[in-house]
């Protein structure tokens, strides 16, 4: 098995990852920046850097005349180096990894006089099915003893330590300290910018070409990472241009630490699959290969992941994550796709295998489409 390499992008400037709005919006719109960027953005920056290191002639490469470059960074229409698996995008602060906050834990800030942090309550499948537009389903319910006012912690990441605590938690409540959380303000500050488009042929600006953007200035210690497996890069890459307007990032390579396996707690009834990166399914929110069925008047979805037969009984799904991008080779924008957002949680009953086997078989797996660029990664938890 080839080695996993972690590529760490540290900002040397502001960054800008443009939202999918027409660029000629006459300054009446402000083009905001997405965060984190799509994995394709980081992969594209890496491929471009490797190409530059090999003194690529981009026009010849696009016309298929530089096969030796295509071997290293992939063909222009493939957008991926051959035989390479990516995973990420991950957020790090001072070396510590952070995951998107699971949406199936609702939070309420700790009261004054208590340690700073959040009291969390786990949504669980309700005891009886409810007739709704999804069928007769057990909707996710707040535990009866939960404090009123608990709500999802939006735009928040939690440390791997806090995540590990939630993964094996069979209780319906937990506490995480504020120091284990990264809120949006901890990650970056927005910087409004005014730009003017230029005609590259005449090198002049024209009337009506003003535009407003909102760049991101990442906080000290924040970096982005993406892992690659199976990609042999001999070149030393130091700085790369990243995202819109080609802003600089320092690039360093690291060897990935192997995470300690987590032991499944006894008494677990079922598994919760929580997405740590957006997933792309062919049927919207329903995992690929799963189909709707009925059992005693209850609507369920059955299918398998990595050979494990599973029954989906409930889900906590966030608003669709819409992601597009720019296809440099074809000089046009990528289709904006609807992805199931990171943090969404699927509650499964395990059918044939016992839960321990399922727990083992589903580790380090990914689901849905485009897993090769890091889509559909998940962590397992229990209920």
């Amino acid at each position: 098995m080839s080695q996993t390499v972690t590529w760490r992008f540290t900002p040397l400037d502001t960054w800008f990852f443009k939202q999918a709005l027409a660029p000629d919006s006459l300054a009446a719109q402000e083009l905001t920046s997405l965060f984190p960027p799509s994995p394709r953005t980081l992969i594209g920056a890496l491929r471009a850097a490797v190409g530059e290191a090999h003194q690529v002639d981009w026009k010849a490469y696009r016309e298929g005349q530089q096969p030796q470059i295509a071997e290293k960074i992939g063909a222009p229409n493939e957008a991926l180096p051959p035989n390479t698996q990516f995973s990420g995008v991950a957020i790090r602060r001072n070396g510590q990894g952070y995951y998107p906050m699971p949406l199936n834990w609702l939070a309420i800030p700790a009261q004054q006089g208590q340690p700073k942090g959040y009291q969390l309550y786990k949504l669980l499948p309700d005891t009886s099915p409810i007739h709704c537009d999804l069928g007769h389903v057990c909707l996710p319910a707040v535990p009866k003893d939960a404090e009123k006012g608990a709500k999802p912690l939006e735009h928040t990441y939690i440390s791997s330590k806090a995540w590990a605590q939630l993964q094996t938690c069979l209780q319906t409540s937990a506490f995480i300290a504020e120091t284990e959380c990264l809120k949006r303000d901890d990650l970056f500050k927005s910087e409004p910018r005014l730009g003017i488009a230029r005609n590259n042929k005449t090198r002049k600006t024209e009337d009506g070409q003003l535009y407003q953007t909102k760049h991101l200035r990442l906080a000290q210690g924040i970096s982005l990472e993406i892992d690659s497996q199976g990609w042999a890069v001999e070149s030393h890459l130091n700085t790369v241009m990243l995202g819109g307007e080609g802003r600089l990032a320092q690039l360093t390579q690291h060897h990935t630490e192997i995470a300690q396996p987590i032991t499944l707690p006894n008494q677990a009834k079922g598994l919760i699959l929580t997405l740590t990166s957006p997933a792309h399914f062919q049927q919207g929110w329903i995992p690929d290969g799963f189909s709707q069925t009925e059992r005693n008047g209850q609507t369920l979805w059955q299918g398998q992941i990595n050979g494990v037969e599973l029954t989906l009984i409930c889900a906590v799904i966030g608003k669709a994550h819409r992601e597009g991008g720019w296809n440099l080779a074809q000089h046009q924008s990528r289709g904006v796709e609807s992805l199931v957002p990171a943090g969404s949680a699927y509650y499964f009953e395990v059918n044939q295998n016992d839960i321990n086997q399922a727990w083992s078989a589903l580790q380090n797996h990914a689901i849905g489409q485009d897993t090769v660029i890091g889509r559909g990664q998940f962590n397992l938890a229990v209920y």
């Binding site: 939202q19 999918a20 709005l21 027409a22 000629d24 919006s25 006459l26 300054a27 009446a28 719109q29 402000e30 949406l103 004054q112 949504l123 309700d126 409810i130 007739h131 709704c132 537009d133 999804l134 389903v137 909707l139 996710p140 319910a141 707040v142 009123k148 006012g149 409004p192 009337d207 009506g208 407003q212 919207g284 929110w285 409930c314 889900a315 906590v316 799904i317 966030g318 608003k319 669709a320 819409r322 597009g324 000089h331 046009q332 924008s333 990528r334 289709g335 904006v336 796709e337 609807s338 199931v340």
Partner: protein
């Protein structure tokens, strides 16, 4: 309640933010809100058609009757995007969804046939269908009537709406949606074809509704144009009615309103109107002006006409370069002849939301009270907003959204809060309820993108007024062209003085020199601008964000500011104790407070208010902003 109605039906339609707030103009904003209200109303009518009784909220019957009968109806959205009904066991929710969808598809088709069809290519039709059919997310739940679980909230934790992939060139207004030409490439030849497509549409519908280089998706296009065709929607029991597309004031017109009120008919005014017209300037939204202004004189020019900045960049506004100097001179002459200043370029968005109503609705015994109170409140909102020269975008349930002038927004928020409290006070059993309402006001420069302001307003309301100040609170943000200038929040209780006036407004008036110390019971604050900037200096220097702020720190800052106040030289105060008294109200408004207890308004006096941090400059900046109406110290627009 009918004995047969043994079940409850909950309905919701969205996305609200994704549809309403992605707006370039106030008219886009109003249109999104109106269409959502109309669709929710169609669902209510369809529910009643099956014998259902709308239980919460009590619908605006004028709106419902207009849907049923057509002819005439309200011009503002008044129906929330979710409702609860009592229904019988045979009730079929799918029929409700089908009928509502039919109404939406009919409206969309009216717009398409009238404005797009003869300019469309096959791709246009495909995009239109895909976007129109796949945009709205509708969820419903139906169970026995005595089921007290928070059903719709539970359902909304499981999102199921994943719109189709959108390729090609994107809409100028709504993120991630393909524009309607369907020309996907980005080479010069593609750009030319795309431009030709939109120029053909523009030549048909006019430059007022489609500016140069705008390329819209189906949803943005419907928002922009539906008002012209709404009256043509005629289904059995689901109708549109006549709307006046131009009755929504632009943000520029709202910003100009305080000065327009002072303009008198005169030869200079006639000369300016003539010059504006000759320069290619457009008429504005005359019908959107307050009645008093409409009848006084014809001031319904495009709102941008009243700002000198417009004349610096005529091509951006489609004005004639040669004629523009004459128009500018005429405007200057008009202002001079009537001793008026150019209007401040700031307007206000007001967003209000009842506190903790969702929580209280989970108690069935409180539901009739809440319904009655909200019904009373909602029916009076438009009148209050009109009285304050504003334009109501939406009032339904416990939500209010309005656009106002810089000068009237605070007073309007206070009046609406009082109206909310009064709406509940006379109801038997009101003491069981938490009947308070929080407000967010965003003062924005007319050149700040509207979608950004609308996006911000939710954060200001939820995070500053509700979370930070503890509900029953007011939060104000000022957004200048350069970005966020200040964010200030206080519980209403902390914001009011004993007479029920807003302390921050009173301080602003004092600072602006509109009142004297004697007139204001001897506690007036007369100080120089330099003194205000000195406050920032002290806060930066003396407050350590990493350490808790204590009483000693507060005293030190108070003492130093008192000395500076005496030194500022614009007041007659010589004694340190008097100086301390004078600046105390300002310091209090700079100090963040939070309500620690949720209590009903009639027990408001018992609410515990506590200091939650060190003083912040934002309170002082707000005083200064209000005092100068967003202008700089020389009275110039920024």
């Amino acid at each position: 309640m009918s004995d047969l109605n043994t079940h409850q039906f909950h309905f919701t339609i969205g996305p609200v933010q994704g549809f309403v707030a992605q707006a370039r103009r106030t008219r886009d904003f109003w249109a999104g809100s109106f269409i959502l209200s109309w669709l929710a109303g169609c669902a209510m009518v369809a529910t009643r058609n099956q014998g259902g009784e709308i239980q919460f909220p009590a619908p605006d019957e004028d709106f419902i009757n207009a849907i049923k009968n057509g002819q005439s109806g309200p011009t503002q959205g008044t129906l929330p995007n979710r409702f609860k009904a009592l229904v019988d066991a045979e009730f079929n929710p799918q029929h409700v969804i089908q009928q509502m969808n039919q109404a939406w598809l009919t409206l969309a088709e009216k717009v398409y046939q009238a404005d797009i069809a003869d300019k469309a290519n096959p791709k246009t039709r495909e995009i239109w269908q895909r976007q129109v059919e796949g945009f709205f997310e509708v969820s419903w739940v139906m169970t026995e009537a005595d089921d007290n679980r928070p059903l719709l909230d539970m359902r909304k934790n499981w999102r199921h709406h994943f719109p189709h992939t959108e390729s090609g060139h994107k809409c100028s207004l709504m993120e991630g949606w393909q524009e309607l030409s369907g020309i996907e490439g980005f080479y010069a030849s593609d750009n030319k074809k795309r431009k030709n497509f939109w120029q053909a549409i523009q030549s048909k519908i006019g430059t007022r509704d489609l500016i140069e280089n705008e390329a819209l998706c189906a949803l943005s296009f419907i928002k922009r144009r539906f008002a012209y065709h709404f009256e043509q929607v005629k289904l059995v029991g689901f109708n549109g009615w006549k709307l006046e597309p131009r009755n929504v004031p632009s943000v520029a017109l709202l910003a100009a309103m305080p000065v327009l009120k002072s303009i008198q008919p005169s030869p200079e005014l006639e000369k300016f109107k003539q010059a504006w017209s000759e320069a290619g300037g457009q008429k504005g939204e005359t019908k959107s002006l307050p009645k008093a202004l409409r009848t006084k004189t014809d001031l319904g020019l495009d709102g941008i006409a009243w700002f000198s900045n417009t004349y610096e960049n005529p091509t951006s506004y489609g004005l004639n370069k040669e004629k523009i100097p004459t128009a500018k001179q005429a405007l200057t002459a008009l202002y001079q002849s009537q001793n008026l200043k150019e209007p401040s370029p700031f307007y206000a968005i007001l967003m209000m939301d009842g506190d903790s109503l969702g929580k209280q609705m989970s108690d069935p015994s409180k539901q009739p009270l809440i319904t009655a109170g909200l019904n009373k409140f909602t029916s009076g909102v438009k009148e209050v907003v009109d009285q304050h020269d504003g334009f109501l975008i939406y009032a339904g349930g416990d939500d209010v959204l309005a656009i106002l002038t810089l000068e009237t927004a605070l007073d309007c928020a206070v009046a609406l809060r009082q109206s909310y409290i009064d709406s509940f006070l006379n109801l038997t059993g009101h003491e069981q309820l938490t009947t308070s309402i929080s407000a967010a006001i965003i003062y924005a420069h007319i050149k700040t993108p509207l979608s950004k302001i609308l996006h911000d307003s939710h954060h200001v309301l939820d995070e500053a007024a509700k979370d930070q100040a503890g509900r029953d609170a007011l939060a104000v943000q000022v957004v200048k062209q350069s970005g966020k200038h200040l964010l200030w929040a206080q519980p209403w209780q902390q914001a009011f003085d004993e007479q029920g006036a807003l302390k921050i407004e009173k301080l602003a008036k004092q600072f602006a020199g509109q009142s004297t110390a004697q007139q204001l019971d001897g506690d007036a604050l007369e100080a120089s601008t330099k003194f205000f900037y000195g406050i920032r200096e002290y806060f930066n220097r003396l407050i350590d964000a990493k350490k808790p702020f204590n009483q000693d720190d507060a005293q030190l800052i108070g003492d130093l500011l008192a000395v500076d106040y005496i030194k500022s030289g614009v007041n007659n105060v010589k004694e340190i104790e008097i100086a301390k008294q004078r600046i105390q109200p300002l310091l209090a408004q700079c100090t963040p407070h939070k309500r620690n207890d949720e209590v009903s308004v009639n027990r408001l006096a018992q609410a515990e208010i506590s200091v939650i941090g060190a003083p912040q400059i934002d309170g002082a900046l707000l005083v200064r902003f209000l005092a100068f109406h967003g202008r700089d110290i020389r009275g110039q627009n920024q």
